[in-house]
């Protein structure tokens, strides 16, 4: 196992950061699997430095008003709305 592989506590911490609820079984399974997968990702250390010569161009357009969804359409998939706004849980 790689020395940087996350243990169960770290898996829980990453899940908290990502705001994804996990049950205990998932934490256990992911801890095992992440060790293998991250070990494999570490082979990227063998990649030589490559000069990147990407020829990037800007694709800006004029900032003009265009047709868009109506307020009603934009809210159509929200579980809860109020007075034309999305309604969410308390922030803290």
């Amino acid at each position: 196992m790689s020395d940087t592989s996350p243990g169960p506590e770290e898996v829980r911490h990453v899940a908290d950061l990502a705001r994804v609820g996990l049950d205990d079984e998932e934490v256990e399974r992911f801890t095992d699997q992440f060790a293998d997968i991250l070990d494999y990702f570490e082979t990227l250390e063998e990649v030589p430095e490559v000069e990147r010569d990407a020829d990037l161009v800007n694709v800006m357009r004029e900032d003009e008003v265009r047709d868009s969804l109506t307020q009603e359409e934009a809210l159509a998939n929200a579980a809860e709305t109020e007075d034309g706004y999305f309604k969410g849980p308390n922030v803290s």
């Binding site: 990453v14 990702f41 082979t43 990227l44 990649v47 359409e73 579980a79 969410g88």
Partner: protein
């Protein structure tokens, strides 16, 4: 009937214009491509009642071309999988190989064509998700050059890698569908001018006289013996038709799979943050504060989706960004450079599409790393933004296998021409 193979998540007819190049064609559309007024689930419980208020650009183009859309095709949840077994709506079966998976993640789209439940289909290809199921189901699939087809209305998984692509029974039909969907789009700033007045369908001439085909040894070595035999036979066939075959080396592709998964998971961890149960996505209820509610609603994601969000979050977190993400970008640049050099001496590259015949149902689910490794031949193409086609190349152990032809950027005509030679 679709009940046999579980091809569609939603069966609904969307009529197109009265005439146009696809007026006589029915099309299955992968369920991560938005259809106005018709639910679009991405194969996820999270979006099981999501109804987009607008059409994806490719759907508008299908309608304008007169196509009749016959349903939203089953898929791995959010496009994450190689077998179409991770859909919240149950797995799709492979109509061309009973008891096997159809490949993924566009397995429903490929199965729809193979089972003749639609004449044509659209899938999306992030690391092989059009070519892999095309190979496993014995149909043709094209992954276009990055920027050829608009991604507006495609529910994002990994934006820098994915393209919508056509599936069809023949190369010419796949090319004709690509003609309809390709070209620039005001709604997607990554689209390019190439493909605007395209006529890819007429490139399917079957003429390979004088064509030089490069075979990257790295993409053949890992394949099963039976797959290699079919591949060699196909190359012999092309030689007889006047093509020249030569070996080339692409040392960078040995690191393509890990680079691909680090980049795709990182982009996924960011893209899937929008499913919070507030604007869309099923709500976990309003008990507790924002973070608790948010985490609760996202318990509805399937295991593969959670795995990728977490690994992506980890790879981008402080202290690990340089170790994983930055090195993956270096590997991506190396892969691009390797392909560029190869195309200085050959017209197209050829490899088996998948290293094995279609997997047995359930085989790959317990070992995610093993499933990731199965994409070794398709992911380098997405990292390099190139076009590639998968064409049927016979059967191995009772299941179809495919051959992949890779072209230089915007070299769609070349791969369509070479691919069509196999159908003569």
């Amino acid at each position: 009937m679709s009940a046999d193979y579980n091809v569609f998540i939603t069966e609904e007819t969307i009529e197109g214009a009265a005439d146009g190049p696809l007026a006589d064609s029915t099309v299955a559309v992968k369920d991560n491509i938005s259809t106005e007024g018709v639910r679009t689930t991405c194969g996820s419980e999270m979006l099981d009642d999501y109804v987009p208020p607008y059409d994806a650009t490719v759907v508008e183009r299908l309608k304008d071309a007169g196509a009749t859309i016959v349903g939203k095709a089953n898929m791995d949840e959010f496009g994450m999988g190689s077998t179409t077994e991770t859909s919240a709506f149950g797995p799709t079966e492979n109509p061309a190989a009973p008891g096997r998976v159809p490949g993924g993640s566009s397995g429903g789209s490929a199965a729809a064509v193979a089972a003749e439940e639609a004449d044509l289909a659209l899938g999306s290809d992030t690391g092989g998700s059009v070519r892999n199921p095309a190979a496993f189901c014995g149909v043709v699939g094209i992954k276009p050059t990055y920027g050829l087809v608009s991604r507006y209305g495609l529910v994002a998984y990994a934006n820098s890698l994915e393209q919508i692509g056509p599936l069809a029974p023949t190369v010419e039909e796949a090319a004709a569908l690509l003609d309809v969907i390709s070209g620039p789009d005001d709604h997607d700033a990554t689209t390019r001018e190439e493909g605007e007045e395209s006529d890819y369908a007429s490139a399917a001439t079957g003429d390979v006289e004088g064509t030089t085909i490069g075979v990257p040894t790295e993409l053949v070595e890992g394949a099963d013996e039976g797959v290699r035999e079919r591949f060699e036979e196909t190359l012999d066939d092309l030689r007889e038709r006047g093509a020249t075959v030569e070996e080339v080396s692409l040392p960078s592709v040995e690191h393509a799979v890990e680079a691909y998964y680090v980049i795709a998971m990182s982009e996924a961890s960011s893209n899937l943050a929008r499913f919070d149960g507030v604007r869309y996505g099923n709500s976990g209820g309003f008990d507790g504060n924002w973070n608790e509610t948010f985490s609760k609603s996202r318990e509805a994601f399937g295991e593969e989706v959670k795995r990728r969000i977490l690994l992506g979050t980890y790879a981008l977190s402080a202290g690990y960004h340089d170790k994983y993400y930055k090195q993956a970008q270096d590997a991506r640049a190396w892969v691009k450079q390797d392909f560029d050099e190869a195309f200085e001496s050959v017209d197209v590259l050829a490899s088996p599409t998948m290293p094995t015949p279609p997997f047995e149902v359930g085989d790959s689910l317990d070992d995610p790393l093993q499933m990731y490794l199965a994409d070794a031949n398709t992911v380098p193409v997405n990292l390099a933004d190139l076009p590639a086609i998968s064409v049927p190349a016979g059967e191995v152990d009772g299941g179809p296998v495919g051959i992949q032809f890779i072209g230089p950027a915007f070299g769609e005509e070349e791969i369509i021409r070479v691919g069509s030679a196999l159908e003569e």
